[in-house]
Symmetry: D2
Subunit: 330 residues, 4 copies
């Protein structure tokens, strides 16, 4: 029995989630919804996807119609809007997933597949945490669960805007640090893994390709670089890229994703720079790229399966998702 999924909010995340749902053998995209009927919705319509519009004028009806028709709605609307929409989902008894712009309390549960699949099983709702938080939980959660991590301190370089919107409020020839320390990602990571001792500072940089993190961490014991690397490379959603292969800069990494035929050049993995991964005297230094448009897509797919309860095993769900998205190929 396939899971009937509706996607509300057809923007940067929504359109990727919709395309990823279509690639799953155990899911069906019953349609996408939005408040605006612009060129993005036009592409979905041309592809034959049923359209639901806030106005009710969608080919398939209103957003409420979509919620009624679905087993589960992925709400990818802007921050705060999704929080309001949940009242409808709850009233209709339809399960839902919100994205990382919303607070933990909106769903009462926060999701990164590695950690919280089991606790999400059969729940009514969950929140897939933000791109930066997802990367932190993947990398430092793995080290912590392996008993290696004492604490991590990071600097987050945030792309100022997504590529499509870079004419709508970018920054030029400057850097814009967040004046508040810590930035929200550390506390946010603890909604998924409460034992993580992580503090971050953040700064907006004038590029559109994705985020980049730089970390120093104190480790337990005195593990070798190889031990640390083994823990990280055990995760299929962490990839290593080599400057020696010409992949040291983030634009080259993105080009490789396009060459691989990934939809929209999406990089679903955390991409760690191999040569920079350094372990010395109980300290770890590392840097990685986060494709803010893509990294939460596989997590969202796993979250669907967890909420619907049909697949009780996290690893099995992740393997299914990875296969459908060709994540092994990277």
């Amino acid at each position: 029995m396939t899971i009937r999924v509706g996607v509300n909010g057809y923007g940067v995340i929504g359109k990727r989630v919709a395309d990823a749902v279509k690639l799953q053998t155990d899911m069906e995209l019953i349609g996408v919804g939005d408040v605006a009927d612009d060129w993005r919705i036009g592409v979905a319509r041309a592809q034959g996807v049923p359209i639901y519009l806030a106005s009710g004028d969608g080919s398939a009806g209103s957003l409420e119609d979509m919620a009624r028709a679905a087993d589960l709605v992925i709400d990818c609307t802007p921050k705060g809007v999704a929080a309001k929409n949940t009242a409808l989902y709850r009233q209709l008894g339809v399960k839902f997933i919100v994205q990382g712009g919303e607070k933990h309390g909106v769903a009462g549960h926060s999701f990164v597949a590695d950690v919280s699949y089991a606790s999400a099983l059969d729940r009514h709702s969950t929140r897939v945490v933000s791109c930066n938080t997802t990367s932190i939980v993947r990398v430092f959660g793995a080290l912590r669960r392996a008993g290696l991590l004492r604490r991590a301190r990071g600097t987050l370089l945030r792309r100022a805007l997504d590529p499509w919107e870079s004419h709508l409020g970018g920054i030029m020839n400057t850097l814009v640090p967040e004046a508040h320390v810590p930035s929200h990602q550390g506390p946010d990571a603890r909604t998924v893994d409460p034992a993580l001792d992580v503090v971050t500072m953040a700064v907006k940089v004038p590029e559109t390709l994705g985020h980049m993190h730089f970390w120093s961490a104190d480790l337990n014991g005195a593990p070798t670089r190889e031990q640390v690397r083994d823990v990280l490379s055990a995760s299929p959603r962490i990839a290593f890229v080599r400057e020696g292969d010409g992949l040291g800069a983030i634009n080259a990494v993105k080009e490789r994703m396009l060459d691989l035929g990934r939809p929209r050049g999406d990089l679903y993995e955390v991409a760690i720079l191999e040569e920079a991964l350094t372990v010395e005297n109980g300290e770890l230094f590392c840097t990685y790229m986060v494709d803010n448009q893509a990294i939460v897509i596989p997590e969202t797919i796993d979250a669907i399966r967890a909420l619907m309860g049909g697949e009780p095993d996290a690893a099995a769900s992740m393997a299914k998702t990875n296969r459908a998205l060709a994540i092994a190929a990277a």
Copy 2:
């Protein structure tokens, strides 16, 4: 009988040509060749494409081996390298196509499908002209052949580098005009259409997405905007984009290509900004985007067919190419 095509030079253009050849029902990609065996070649190898290397260590042999095995080689190596390679092609009696970095004399024939398909039939070689020149011939060649164009004067904004190489010599927060007027595109366009009266100035701008042209032109007679637009829209390789649809900036146009599922987000068409197309008192003003990575790909495919002579009709070849590349869908 399929045409056996080899691609020499697996960079920005070469990899796109190779992928486009694979999509044609009347062609077979026999392999790709390069001097370097880097991550780009690695992707091709992983896709099962036979690899030919200058060193001779390719899975399938040397560049000479590729030339021997092919009916036709597309040489996409850097400017000047292709010119040298042609000696080998001529010696082996294999047909070849060079790209717009080379001079007209290298092949003795310059190609834009609209204009020079017939004269390329059964030739030994041709040169697909550069991205900017291709766009000029598509747009102003069409107007000239319709008897509408007297002369055109243009300003060409050139992206400073391609996305993958933007860490290898870009420009930041500045503009770099070409000190020589006219820039080479006007004279180059006349290698395809000798009757074109076109003069251009050029300037490098700090972005990586593509070029943008701004034109004023004097027309014959006093055609209406509709007459001019009809001539342009008759070409399937000219598309119109509307600022009113949110597609006024070139980053938004590229996002749409990614959403359409175009490989690498490629825009094969000249994309004219609808609202800016102005015809008044015998003058035309217009602006369009040129995706320098993509626009020559369909031309190259047509050039293959022309040289091999199996399809005598330009329109039929262009339709076949467009269908394979989903150009109608844009």
Copy 3:
């Protein structure tokens, strides 16, 4: 007798006008006014400039107090605000100058020193036209008055934001053309020189240093390049820069202004690229840089003198202004 000048609006233009007024021997800066008391006003205060604030809490009083104390107010407030302020100036009988963001009708007179000094003598008010329009009148007005210009068609590359504000709404890795042709500068130039036949297209580019124009023009007769250059070089507010000297890119030109000790690195002149100036078969091609923060400063100083009527000769005023701003030195 010195002219008592107040400056309302202490932003990009206002602070430069205030500093320029201080350098004139026949003018006195009686103070600067603003609605906000931020770090910019703080710098003026630290320099001992009397401060007038909308709130009335300035060290020297309110904006109305400043208008009462001045012979003339330069209103450099944002577009539309100045238009409203003029009611007060008229009521108090104080002369005023508005900037190019306002419409011609706000003052009923538009000013570029070369052309409209005489008609501004003893007027109550004028409008110093925008940076782009000023450059057009300087360059093409000079050619027209010399009988050489038939018509000019230009492409205007506009810096997307000023340096200080580039974190408040910039554009990144894209180009944003104006969808309407002609852009407003051509018609605006005719408010100063009604005989100018000028049409422009405009595009925002991702840099902050200034604008750049690219022109083709039809000339009367068949003047030589030298004749055209002589007309242009006769103006002290037009400078020539050479790529051969390393000054081909606009960032290098700005560096030179800083090296010259110009306040804030200001380039008051239109900077024409020497090598690109081309005259052939009755056509002119040229490109120049417009420092949008600086070019109207000398014009504003001249406009003050014209309105106050003490210096009846345009050339004498311009020479005085140029000397004070070291314009000859460039």
Copy 4:
């Protein structure tokens, strides 16, 4: 008796050093030297500065002539060139200062005024360390000497090129991390202050205004934020900027320097973001801007005095330098 100073290498640093020397009452700029006679040298010549050229054709002779005429030469030539030049200086018995591009061994002594003034007294030569290293020694050296610092871990965002050269090899819409950890600044800081426990990672970012550092540090004891801030604000070469004043982004900070009338908008101080300075549980988090073109200028002036030995007191020299450069005013 004034110190006769020659400056060899009239680029980004050299021209600033030359201008700063001119502002000191106890120094005389005897001339500037370079290998190339370009527009930069032209500005110096127009200002009446004696010019020495490698060719010997300078108005004042050759580089060797300059070295003979000087008490001390500041060598600001590119990395590696200065190292070669020192043979001449030693042979002629003229004192010299090299910049941070050179290795410690070139002069056998490394200089940051706060720390190494006394040990530089009457020496034959010293090396003013790089901009980033200077900032590290100012900030973390101060904390260490106050007994507060245990160790510091930093991420350095490096402007990809200086403003004047940003058309000669920039990076666009990408981030380029250094693949090697630690980057060289930590070890380099220990050439000045061997007790500093500092490790850094570095990344090139697509802007030209300056560097930005982000730090986490472990402190001794559990000092309050106020105690830490007091130590830092005791240095006149550390300034605090407030986001609340509109100075959170580095472009705004630079605009303020231009408004203050600083030559070329130079920021000589390390500019710490006030609101982000955080002290909690024995940890410090902070971020600051480093104007790579300017920060070493006051250090170089102090180094001149130290080598010449006339002013034995570091604090007195620094006060003199600061006064001449209006550093107190920021």
